[in-house]
Amino acid sequence: MKKLVLRNIDQGALMKLNKILKNTFLVLFACLVLSACATSKKSTGQMQGDVYTGTDTVEYLASGVPDRVFFATNESVLTTASRETLRKQAAWLRKNSDITIVLEGHADERGTREYNLALGERRANAAKDYLMTYGISSNRISVLSYGKERPVDSGSNPLAWSKNRRSVTVKAN
């Protein structure tokens, strides 16, 4: 009986040890995966979460003023980077007060056509609202949604989709 009890204790200890080992492995593994992700992200340098952070498709309204901002899947929230871009656009628009713009909102191909039209409109308006808080009058801004109709990247992969989820500021005059 005693032996049995002892054995049980031993086994318990072993199991604990196992658990500790397993956990360390898990942590180690997670670290590896994470660093792999981090490096792969860095190596392409193009996405954070699923928001595009690259510059492949970006054009410039003026030197240092990018023309577009990007969105996460199904989202119309402006990221920190997007807000910075829009502040630059606002500054440029304030300096060039005769310029009017169209904000073209787009969605990726992974949604139904009609919902995407609404989503593109919502994204362009998120950009419009931000520009307006930085002093750009609403009558200088019009909004146009293309939904999923005008992708910039014809790929069927997450990176291509991230480039297509965008609001582009286009000079109208």
């Binding site: 199904n74 949604g111 009609e114 919902y115 039209l117 919502r122 609202d129 146009l144 014809s154 790929g155």
Partner: protein, 446 residues
Amino acid sequence: MRNLIILFLIFIIPTKALGLIEVDITRGNLNPLPIAVSPLSIDDESKKSFEKTLKKKDIGSEISKVIEKNLKTSGLFNPLDKNAFLQAPDIAHLKPRFEDWNLIKAQALITGKVKNVDDKLRVEFRLWDVLAGKEMMALAFTTVPNNWRRVGHIITDKVYERLTGEKGYFDTRIIYVAEEGPKTKRIKKLAIMDQDGANNKFLTLGNELVLTPRFNPTSQMVTYLSYFRNLPRVYLLDIETGIQEVVGDFPGMTFAPRFSPDGKKIIMSFAKDGNSDIYTMDLENRIVEKITNHPSIDTSPSYSPDGKFICFNSDRSGYQQIYVMKSDGSNVKRISFGNGLYGTPVWSPRGDLIAFTKLHKGKFYIGVMRTDGSGERLLTENFYQEAPSWSPNGRVLIFYRETKTDDKGEGFSAKLWSIDLTGYNERLVDTPTDASDPSWSSLLSN
């Protein structure tokens, strides 16, 4: 078109439904009914005159081919090889030798006769039950010769109705968006064709982007979205006259249009300041009504066939889901609760089901559910597909599918597909170009 056809029912022999063949369409039909479609017989004189006007060598045989193709694509019938037929068309039409047709395992037989009567096309046909050795139906039509394909479709509708007990869907048309060019710069045109792909015609030139055409269930009017002058607005188009007009005077994008079942209203979304709500416009008095009032996206509205309810797509719960409300906008209820996102709800013309698109774990599905959201059934899974439209009898759905591009972003295509409500009989619908956003018309004749 509807006005053009002159239909004279010469004689209808009422038939008894006792113990005759029937086709069950409520289940997936794995044993399509063997049917023999005898070439419609034609006398030499009529043959020659129609050859001159229609440029078809044997119009009787051509009409029977239309019927045969319809029956085959329905998935419910198996038209037998004409080479195996023993009896000549003209004699079979008078009195079939049922033993001969039985021998080649035909259970039903269609025979007919074509004649030129005062430069009109007169077609009579008979449907026979081979096993019972009885005539099931006999009808005749007279029409302008150019309508010969429609005669084939109408005959198919009559046969389908006689054998399944439900209305057919063959004398119908599909309006859709024809697509060409690279994925990043697609050129889109409105196009219309017969349900079987014949008589394809482009209705716009492709100068502006056009999307989501939908038939008026009661007339030859179409509503669609056009980016004319870069202003995305809902338009109305009369197919016969080609006259177009913008629907309503909205200070922003209107989209996702559909007709009410009586054809008197258009229901659509209007987007303003980042918010899309559902509106209707009465086509007679032009009165606009706001139906939903919610800071979320409300779109893709579709009426129930009695006009009392509307199903629509909203992300008010955080993600795209399907909702049903009364047609005045009250009593909004969410009906989709499965995993994934739901879009493009369309109410069945029979009233009992709602077809939808579902996105779950990176795959797109076309499915149906009851109008309270119960009994969800997914019919087909693919990389990308959406926008189902019902056949007028509520038995078949047509939708479009897009392909995944390769590593270089090439290989994109968009095509129309159809599938039975049962989930069987999935078929590519042939179109001369790439195609999307199909909408099925009502029966052109009843």
